[in-house]
């Protein structure tokens, strides 16, 4: 019977895989709801508020896609995933798109058979330490105990960083951000490391954010972006261009405030017209309504608005635009043309 149970488990894995069908767009439309994988809770990126409504930067991407596809930014089922469960959830078809500050790497793209549709945040791994520890540089961390969120690229970067600097450390792998915070606050580890944006978000949720400092070293490149399964290119295109629409909207000066007005009738700018569907057939090419991008932008605003509202300098998280500014402002955001 042991053997039977063994094959049974194999089979369950097989059955789960079979639910992932090719035409995701049809599934989403038939369901009337977009299943979007997010973090289990990282303030500013994805976390539920007191009423259970999800808010955040990654959540904004989910809502934009839902608005583009279904015309309703609230038609999203948010599926909280951990660093460990996120890829299985996406591969098995439990979620249609994963927007969970996930780093675009070669092996995830190629070996795990996922498709990264773009980058919504250029990040890098940093370190947070208590201020009274008196540490000024990550290279002073010899012998420190480091809390890491397991199942991420961070634990590999960390091993590389300490090895290349010939200093030692003691890793403490933690399953979720909340548990890591708890251990860090209790002093069970000296350092907490994850993406710099995540550290800023975590610090913002502390009682005394000023007692903790982020070290200057950024030890890796972490381009974070939404991803979908390999093999359904139509769906990949929809998510990719929904994200690009948000970025292009900022560049073209289309905001949630003026999108209705600009989208009502053709304007003097042909690119704005094509983006908002008053000119050309871009929506139909994606298999969506002509005003798909208008709905996506109206859902939470353009990229810049989403950034300022959730993680910008006027929020507790206080991240500067930095690399995430438009290319015209010296950043890396550069949407391909809508044409």
């Amino acid at each position: 019977m042991k053997k039977t149970a063994f094959y049974g488990a194999l089979a369950v894995a097989g059955l789960a895989a079979s639910t992932a069908s090719a035409a995701t767009l049809d599934d989403v439309k038939a369901r009337g709801v977009l299943n979007c994988g997010v973090t289990t809770g990282l303030v500013g990126f994805a976390s539920p508020d007191a009423n259970g409504v999800w808010n955040g930067f990654d959540v904004g991407v989910c809502r934009a896609v839902a608005a583009a596809v279904l015309g309703d930014s609230d038609a999203v089922e948010f599926v909280p995933t951990t660093g460990k469960t996120r890829f299985t959830a996406l591969a098995s078809g439990e979620i249609d798109v994963l927007a969970r500050n996930t780093t675009w790497t070669f092996s995830r793209d190629v070996d795990l058979k996922f498709e990264f549709v773009g980058i919504n945040y250029y990040d890098g791994q940093g370190f947070m330490v208590p201020r009274d520890l008196g540490v000024a540089s990550a290279k002073d961390l010899d012998g420190a105990t480091v809390c890491i969120q397991t199942g991420t690229t961070t634990e590999l970067n960390l091993a590389d960083f300490f090895r290349s600097n010939s200093i030692s450390y003691e890793p403490v792998p933690i399953e979720t951000n909340a548990e890591a915070q708890q251990q860090y606050i209790a002093g069970a580890c000296d350092v907490y490391t994850t993406d710099a944006s995540g550290l800023a978000a975590t610090r913002a949720s502390f009682e005394n954010p000023g007692d903790h400092v982020l070290l200057p070293e950024i030890i890796s490149k972490e381009p974070l972006g939404p991803l979908v399964r390999h093999g359904d290119n139509d769906w990949g295109d929809i998510v990719r261009w929904s994200l690009n629409a948000l970025i292009a909207a900022e560049e073209l000066g289309v905001t949630s405030a003026n999108v209705e007005e600009l989208g009502a009738a053709p304007t003097g700018n042909p690119e704005v017209n094509r983006l908002l569907g008053t000119e050309g057939e871009l929506g139909a090419m994606l298999g969506l309504e002509a005003d798909w991008a208008k709905s996506a932008i109206a859902a939470g605003g353009n990229y810049g608005e989403l950034f300022e509202k959730n993680i910008g300098e006027n929020t507790p998280i206080g991240l500067a635009r930095g690399l995430n500014a438009q290319w015209t402002d010296g950043g890396l955001l550069y949407s391909p043309p809508f044409r």
Binding site: A11, L15, A17, K84, L133, G143, T145, E170, P173, G187
Partner: protein
């Protein structure tokens, strides 16, 4: 003359497969087998079809690739450049370590609580009942979290030992209890041959003492059986156990390396990690409650007449328990004990909750995540847990056969 003949043997007809009770069960078993085999075949086929459709395959070559991550608790040599297979072995050893430690302490807790639950003292009896009911009826997952949270909240961090007027001090100046673990002095020989060899030497001396003490006891038993008077063996045994050890310590110069605060953490001495303590204690105290009930059931299964008969012979209560009741109770206690040990081993996979790097955390956690080889990793994990569980069952069954009632 008449003779009894066998009833006529009808030739076999296919309809007998349904109508004849002699063959009917075979028919149904055969049908059930075919259906089972077909469904399993379908499911496996489904798995491979779907894997192929997604362009994936089953491939174990990732085990030879460098793991790339570090592990905080390791019993064998391991760096981030070691292979995934070595990472899995580190995890396996950690699983076995915590399972072994927890089995030993759970048995101690369980036997103590089980015996005390039958105590004549009302307070002790009720306290043990409360222990059993509380720990048995709350999931072990919650206990692991509670114990770990309390540990990191109550115990001081290494930082608090620093400064001229620290808020925390070392216990007796030689041990430190921190929320990262417990640091105790490390014994070593000043004029020894190095760690491993010294340890083997001490082990050899202890084994020698064990056999020496056994010989003394056997001789005492022989004399007792011949003369009825048992010679005193306590002092001789103490001498046999401690004499050679003390001589050895003096010859090689026993010293202790006391842990001291260095940099961010304590250095030197032996570190027993906080995660290990948390998962070890949680598993022991939880499973101990179940074992206590087994022990109580086993003791109550021994007829009261046995206790009374032993009492009538003038045996003291403590000896009645250890010489008369427990040996008989063991026959009832051992079989369910196997499943408790199996539970400990399997529940040790909760270790990742507190950051203890067991095999589920290395092979089934970080390796699975970094390589994305979910099916392969889970298959290997299943294989490991199945093997280890069957081994534990086998070992305890051997012991059970040794102590069970020999019926002649």
């Amino acid at each position: 003359m008449t003779s009894i003949t066998d009833p006529p043997r009808g030739s076999f007809r296919p309809s007998m497969l349904i109508n004849d009770t002699r063959y009917r069960s075979y028919t149904f078993q055969a049908i059930a087998f075919v259906v089972l085999a077909l469904s399993i075949g379908y499911l496996i086929n489904n798995l491979f079809t779907n894997l192929a459709a997604q362009g994936l395959d089953i491939d174990f070559s990732f085990l030879g690739a460098p793991a790339g991550y570090d592990i905080n608790q390791r019993l064998i040599e391991y760096t981030s450049q070691s292979t995934n297979l070595q990472a899995a072995f580190v995890g396996i050893l950690n699983t076995l370590l915590v399972a072994f430690l927890a089995c030993v302490t759970a048995t101690i807790f369980g036997v103590l609580a089980g015996v005390l639950r039958l105590s004549n003292n009302w307070l002790v009896r009720k306290l043990m009942a409360i222990y059993v009911e509380i720990f048995r009826n709350i999931p072990v997952l919650i206990w692991v979290l509670i114990i770990f949270t309390i540990m990191i909240a109550v115990l001081p961090g290494p930082r608090e030992f620093r400064g001229d007027d620290p808020s925390a001090t070392m216990f007796l100046g030689i041990s430190a209890f921190t929320n990262r673990g417990v640091y105790i002095p490390l014994p070593f020989f000043e004029r020894g041959f190095g760690g491993g060899l010294d340890f083997l030497m001490v082990l050899a001396v202890l084994v020698g003492s064990f056999f020496g003490a056994r010989a003394v006891n056997a001789r005492a038993t022989r004399i007792q059986e011949a003369t009825g008077v048992r010679p005193a063996t306590l002092l001789t045994n103490l001498g046999i156990w401690f004499g050679p050890l003390i001589v050895m310590f003096l010859v090689f110069g026993l010293r202790f390396e006391v842990p001291e605060l260095k940099g961010f953490n304590f250095a030197g001495g032996i570190k027993v990690g906080g995660p290990l303590i948390a998962i070890w204690f949680a598993l022991s105290i939880y499973t101990g409650a179940f074992i206590a009930e087994n022990v109580r059931a086993g003791i109550q299964a021994v007829s009261k007449g046995q206790t009374e008969a032993a009492g009538a012979l003038g045996i003291r209560p403590g000896r009645i328990m250890s010489l008369v009741v427990l040996p008989q109770a063991l026959r009832v206690i051992i079989p369910p004990l196997i499943s408790n040990y199996l539970n400990i081993t399997k529940n040790s996979s909760l270790a990742i909750l507190v950051g203890y790097a067991d095999v589920t955390a290395t092979l089934g956690g970080i390796t699975l995540n970094q390589t994305g080889r979910a099916i392969e990793c889970i298959l290997l994990l299943m294989l490991f847990y199945l093997t280890i569980s069957l081994l534990i069952s086998a070992v305890i069954n051997v012991y059970n056969n040794a102590i069970k009632l020999k019926e002649r």
